[in-house]
Amino acid sequence: MKTLTRRQFGLAAAAFAGAAASPLAQAAGYPERDITFINPWSPGGSTDAIVRQYAKQMEKVLGGSIVVQNLTGASGTLGVGTVVRARPDGYTIGYAGNGTLVYQPMVMKGLAWSRPDDLQPIAKLNSMPTLLAVRGDSPVRTWTDFVAQLRSRPGQVRVGVAGLRTSADLEMQQVNMAAHLRMRIVPFTGGSGESVLALLGGRVEAMAGYTDGLRGHVDAGAMRIVAVFQKGRYEPFPDASPVGDQPDFTSATLLPACNYVIGPRGMPPDVLDRLVTGSRQVVTSEEFKAFAQRGGLVLDPMAPDEVRSELLRVAGTYERLIRFLHPDKA
């Protein structure tokens, strides 16, 4: 056990030494010790890759170490709650998506936050538009084809998503609501991998997911991306119909998965300023842009206030959606 920890420590120290020695390191007071960055999702998957990339670059910008801690559970609310309740000294910050920040407080009781004002947004990292995929041999080629299929077989067309009330599920429910469609949304519980298998195995007619999990199958010809739920062309899949440009859909009905960096409310202004400007520097860097392009992430840098108003806007959409899904509870 001793050998293990000592070696790990050595390796970790070696990895961090590079960051500390960088010319960008500044002597300013903050940060004086390691910053804990809480990722409310498990290691692995697209979230973790984004977080690690951000942390890696942010270490160079701030000239200190950032320790990423995966604190998972309760749909991301355990990790986000820990950040919100942390001492506001700038040494505990974290990652959060719009689902955890806005949707969960509407359906879960006893969380440490209920409105965007209860926490401090630091930056918007990226957004990912939802994609609709069908099997490579499917006759459905465009969004219009898909809607025609839905209308001819109401309630029969199955669309797999990575779990009930995940971003992809909410997006699909939203589409059902906005366009009066009746697709049967099947929540798989084992993450998007299970819906990929179900689509390839012909158990569902389509699935909603994101670039990282789908691109490999599209490249292999096993899948085709029919639609992208955003306005305008989506570079990674230029042939996909942009649903946001369809007459029935306004931008208000689109719910991309958005990722933010947040901290507890009440951080000292100079610390907050370092974090906000540093994050902006990271998100607008060429390195981060290249990383985003590889993963099909859409960059949309935002200041804290802009993040707040975006969250409030999303809250309105979710409220309408909850009324649609649970008319009895409203």
């Binding site: 298998l197 292999a220 590889r294």
Partner: protein, 497 residues
Amino acid sequence: MDAFDGLLHGFAIALTAQNLVAAFLGALAGTLVGVLPGLGPLGGIALILPITYSFDPTTGLIAMAGIFYGAMYGGSTTAILINVPGEAASAITCLDGYQLTRRGRAGAALTIVAAGSFVGGTVAVLGIMWLSPAVSRAALLFGPPEYFAMLLGGLLIFSRVSGGTLAAGLFPMAVGLLLATVGQEAVTGEQRFIFGINELSPGFTLVAVVIGLFAVAEMMHLVATREQQVAPVSVRLADMMPTREEWRRSVAPMLRGTLVGFVMGALPGPPSAMSSFASYRLEQAVARHRRELGTGAIEGVAGPETANNAAATATLIPLLAMGIPFGAITALMLSSLMIHGITPGPLLMRNYPDLFWGLVASMYIGNVMLVILNVPLVGVWVSLLRVPQYIFLPMIVLLTVIGAYSVNNSMLDVWLLPLIGCVGYVLNKLGFRLAPMVIGLVLGPLVEKHLREALILSGGDLGTFWSSPVAVATWAVVAVVLCLGFLLRPREVAADD
């Protein structure tokens, strides 16, 4: 590139100094995290993940795979020596492994495990080389209805895994199923039976329950009976080596274990713990000395430990052939590839031949390293048993507490240990078997999830459970195994009681 060319190419990559070091360090770290109860390959890989980002992706993947299969070598050590399973997959190894230790055959058992792990690991690598595409096509035939049939069958079949009367197995299994309902329900996300304790939301932590059930309960038993835990141990080389008879009896279980482990590992549904249980059950049915199982039969160690190694290696198939991770560990590996901009998918093998064949070749090398590493270590582990009991027991208590805490960094899991330990102690006193409880806890949520997914897919039509040939075949296999179990029962019970 055909398999042979590919392998040669792979060795050229794996034999560079950097990749050799990565394979060795991975295997070593894997053995250590495997030996420590609680800390498993997942924790080990998560720790080194940030470090792998700064190496090239092949090197990182080689190190992570090394930890993964290295942990399978080490995982059974504490199960055999002190009845503390390092993870759920080793729970079944406790049954015979610990009995062997009490008879003074700990060294032999550990050597057999190292050999079995080598066989399971290397044969499964052959499978990855030649069968990946075919296996991943076959996996598409399995969907929720088929997995439901398979897992429900597993639940029934494995409830009798540790012998005894029908009730001795079924009752603890039902308790395990009940425990499994605690926490966030998988399909709707509804919280069940958590009584406002948010930490319970992910459910009872499997490792804490398994350690409590086996290790803590066993320690209570040792203290209560004032029994010396093992026969006096000597660490002479002659006692480390299995006898010719033990080797002979291990060969067939190892081969059967490899097959069972490979199939279970390559299918994206069943958890790897199921492979060692399945192998043990198979030995109970077909091994020539099956009546000795449970009292310290070498087959009960050789089969399951080979199976879980083969399964660990085979779980890389869905990842490498389809780019789909089906466990937390393969998800971590995927994440390290993605940060290097490698999009996993069916084309991985063609687009990144260096990565694929380098990894495959490194697994041969890693397995050889592990045998060389583990056989001399056997003596070290066994000599631990000579520590007097008044020092030994507190040491193990400390180890289990650290192990339980380290899984989720949660104190709740630590409090769970004495609680579950008491449950295990009482159940044991009353003649119930504990392994079926683990099975209930592992498979319960999966059975429920596949049942509900299947019904959502079919729109509530129950016919879906026998609508495909694969599902019907699975039910038939389950029925045959169950009937055979009952037909063979009278003789076994006679031997049992």
